[in-house]
Amino acid sequence: MQDYRRKLIFEKSSEGRSAFNLYQKEEPVSIPKTFLRKEPMGLPQVSELEVIRHYVALAHSNFSIEKGLYPLGSCTMKYNPKINDQMACLPGFANLHPYAPTSLTQGALKIFHELERWLCELSGMHAVTLIPAAGAQGEYTGLRLIRAYHKDHGLNKNTVLIPDSAHGTNPASAALCGYEIKKIPSNKDGILDPKDVEKLLTDDTAAIMITNPNTLGLFEENIGEIAKLLHAKDAFLYCDGANFNALMGHTLVSKMGVDVIQFNLHKTFSTPHGGGGPGAGPVGVVQKLEPYLPTPRVQKEKDEFIWKEFPKSIGHIKAFYGNFGVLVRAYTYMCALGKEGILKASQMAVLNANIIKTKLKSAYHLPYDHKPCMHEVVFTDKKQSQTGVKTLDIAKRLMDYGFHPPTVYFPLIVQGAMMIEPTETEPPEEIDRFCDAMLAIAKEAETDPQKVKTAPHTTPVARVDEVKAARQLILKYQTKISS
């Protein structure tokens, strides 16, 4: 029954077995002889039924949001409604060729145009590009815009300030863009203090990258004041929109003084997430950065949508116009929810996180508890570690209860962090079930710590040796198959 675990499809191969015989002409096609394969490819030789069983078994051992709660903090693993896929699969969208003349693609261009406008409306930004293919590419694009602006205005600025609670992509994007990174410490309340920003702010500062709410699930309430400090030095406030799910419809980031923001459509706007994409990380900017936006940009002239290049643009950052199918899904989501629905989604996301915070804080140490959290909450293993049970053990044990573990050991400024983001799509019963499981694990950590430390016990694969996996990486099938 557990065959799929022990054997790869290659190892199930049996000489001469196959699912299908390709019709072969005597003189096979017109491929030049030098390009023809001389030896068999070494594909697994299996029947159709074996193939189906193999992959169905793998699929069954997989975990997804459709199987249960997936509370990965700062990842916003919400349910992606099926209608999103249905719309993206409409032949008029799915079969569009990027080189098709605009006279035949007006519908698609209208979607680009409207989605841009809606993201502007939700953020208060002046203009948006939909092209970046992921959150991190959005960050990089946003920083490139800032670089272009400063260069254009004869300003030489080479430093980006980043809080110690930031996502790792922030310093990575800034470094890739050629900036030197200076780390800003969070204060005792887990947020940025304008005084600490002021200390690090110089004429060399190009921007600060702030995630709001931050990765502790806390609203950066001093962001407006920080924006003023930056703007006085011709520096920009970059907002990492990874946690936009907590804000959408509530407030405009433009009111906080934000100059650039990336939207992670695969988080906030229910497009597929994880597994390597494709994602979408549109970038919104204030008016003075608009001239530098990547091209081509969709423009409405008279009653027609067209693609346009702009002289000051940073140019093309990706082939064609971004991941169109993902954009259609986000557009569908926004159509389905409407403005009020979007606000409600955000409210429910914050409510769910606060329910979890309230229910679990007697059992788990809560490092920041001076105000309500936003869409996610961070606990630690401080109480459980007295019996030797650590965050990793709690995460593993959660799998036995049928839940995906939360984000662990992040943010880095919290020892043994467990970062839980339930999202708005979970019904209250599921939130309760999750809390019950967490409370049961807390109890087990006291009464039977060994059970937690050796978890998981019921999953298809037990606890893996992560050290061995990291030190002795085997990334491909190694045994030569008999042909």
């Binding site: 990793l392 662990v408 050991y409 992040f410 880095l412 020892q415 992560e466 050290v467 990291a470 030190r471």
Partner: protein, 127 residues
């Protein structure tokens, strides 16, 4: 948790020991415990300059990837080659076999502004 008396400590959890201008650098017992099993380490080359408070290498554990910050400015004169194949040394023996680099410190440099063992212990217990 061990905090040897003869070492100086940084807030980033590196330790330093000065012997006639040659400073041995490593990470503390507290750091290795927090990082968990270490699987990879990246060190500078002999001859590379290092700058106080700036990254000189990277350590990767099953939990996270972290920069290593130099407690002193100077030039790398020796690196612990065995760590490349046996990064677990950092977990097993952070203060001895797990040393990382020897730095010939620049003139006028001192370790005096780093924490001593009791200060560092207090710092760890509060964090």
């Amino acid at each position: 948790m061990k905090y040897p008396d003869d070492l100086r400590y940084t807030k980033d959890h590196e330790w330093a020991r000065n012997e006639n201008g040659i400073v041995t650098v490593g990470i503390t017992d507290f750091a290795q415990d927090q990082l968990g099993d270490i699987v990879y380490i990246e060190l500078p080359n002999v001859g590379d300059p290092v700058q106080k408070g700036h990254a000189f290498g990277v350590v990767e554990s099953v939990k996270a990837v972290s920069d290593l910050y130099s407690p002193i400015s100077g030039e790398v004169v020796k690196i612990n080659q065995t760590l490349k194949d046996s990064p677990e040394m950092l977990n097993q023996d952070p203060y001895d076999a797990g040393w990382m680099i020897h730095v010939k410190m620049n003139e006028n440099e001192t370790l005096n502004d780093l924490m001593d063992a009791s200060m560092y212990q207090k710092f760890c217990e509060e964090s």
